[in-house]
Symmetry: C2
Subunit: 299 residues, 2 copies
């Protein structure tokens, strides 16, 4: 599960990955109301060794404002991981990016067929909202989390990014347009993770605004690093097909601004993310280390 | 827009269809945060001349317990229509039922391509939850509506029904198994529409239970009538390819129990739906007429 990180931070991330995996496994074990066939394909999708970065951000941001992660944050972390997983399943479909490999295993449609993969994605996004509505208390917190997640994932967020991304393939894209695609496709979900964590921890609006800014900047850095990795990483390291973006003529930072400037931009975004954490003092340390770590990751 | 109904009831339904269409159009007009490209494909999907039966049930059930439909009920009606529309878009995909025609027009993937159709479906289901979270007050009502809708649409509801339906194609299916498929694929959304309406109208739990029972029974009757229409209707009447179920070897009531028993069962379910309305007295009249009307519809 290492991302190629320093060992102290790697252990902290590992701890959160363990929590998220346990929460997801617990949800599936409890969900006897979901029939065995549907459950098996959902489990396959969720058990892939994902990095769980968005979910870890939820848990850490809850701790930063509230002291310790609570059950609401665990549910929010599971929900964002479900929405992220659904987006990967649909993104990998033949009609979309047409990928055979994800998280080091066969993609969902390769394993179960296209129809099931479409439905497993549909099941996961719906289940995420069901969990938030049923498991989070009080109702005002549940509604806030649902609104944040739906806004980040929906037609003015992730879905919009995927749609523009499809059309941008093989086209000329400016640096500005590329940032716009990334903000919708990836960054809003990072921002959402940070804000959801803060909401679960009972953060003040000013703190949530800070966390949102952190999520935005770290998301931008993460996506630039992802583009760089697609060029430099091996498929084995990535757990998905490497060099795929370039082959499909996808708009990426190295393709649009060159490798040197891509690395410089990723560094700058990480620094801006760290700057947003200033008021949190020492409690923000783990989020600061995450910002650096995401630049140096190898997968 | 006529379903082949008696003219008085047809006018009442027409009124509700008008309300739902106006609410949907208003949501899209206000939703400037959704980019123009995404909005155009969402609008195409939502503007198809759907029967809006589920949405009308939300509005009527709100009136039955609360006197008149309110803004919450309008939002709930729009949300359920969005979720229903998303399910049709994904259901029509080549990897699923592979249909070219829906609501009398080209299906979403025929018009915009498969990738966009997948994403428009994803956008609609997410937008439905975003609307409920942002537009319904108080939070406790919003959470209840979201929980009901997600449960009906998700992995223990509509998605499960679609998944089993895929596997049941061309197979031997008992009457009991067929009812199980229909309950998940169609009926839970009807039940959900009735309960959501009741919740928006401030109904007591006992009233919601009655409305849920009505929704369940009317949903069963509706789906049997749908199966009968697939055999007897023309594509022009249906706005979708007729005889499709039989051609694909899908499990349908006429195929499993024969036409005569199908008609008898549909009639019985309508009577059971009407019986559930007993405590509502005259206020339940329009829901009673709906039960009869759905049996006699020609599309």
């Amino acid at each position: 599960m290492s991302l190629g990180l320093d060992s102290e931070f790697a252990a902290e991330l590992e701890g959160k990955v363990g929590v998220v995996n346990d929460v997801l496994a617990g949800i599936l074990a409890d969900a006897r109301w979901i029939g065995p066939e549907v459950r098996e394909s959902i489990r396959y999708a969720l058990e892939g060794p994902g990095k769980r970065v968005r979910a870890a951000i939820v848990l850490w941001c809850c701790e930063v404002v509230g002291g310790r992660a609570n059950r609401d944050a665990e549910i929010a972390a599971a929900a964002i991981e479900m929405v992220h997983t659904y987006s990967l399943i649909h993104d990998d479909l033949p009609a979309m990016d047409d990928d055979d490999m994800r998280r080091g295993r066969a993609t969902c449609h390769k394993r179960f067929g296209e129809a099931t993969a479409i439905l497993v994605g549909d099941a996961l996004v719906t289940l995420a909202f069901e969990l938030l509505a049923k498991e989070v208390e009080p109702a005002a917190v549940a509604v806030r989390l649902i609104a944040e997640l739906a806004e980040a994932a929906g037609p003015a967020g992730m879905v919009a990014g995927q749609m523009v991304d499809l059309k941008a393939a093989n086209g000329d894209v400016s640096e500005e347009q590329l940032e716009h695609i990334h903000i919708n496709k990836t960054v809003k979900m990072f921002r959402c993770a940070a804000v959801m964590g803060g909401v679960c921890g009972g953060g003040e609006e000013e703190q949530l605004e800070r966390l949102g800014r952190y999520g935005l900047k770290i998301g931008l850095g993460f996506q630039i690093a992802d583009d760089i990795l697609d060029v430099c990483g091996t498929s084995e390291q990535l757990g998905k097909t490497s060099g795929k973006d370039a082959k499909q003529g996808k708009a990426t930072y190295p393709a649009v601004v060159g490798m040197a400037k891509s690395k410089e931009l990723a560094q700058r975004r990480a620094e801006e993310a760290v700057a947003a954490l200033e008021p949190f003092g020492e409690r923000g340390d783990v989020l600061r280390r995450l910002a650096t770590a995401l630049l140096n990751r190898t997968r």
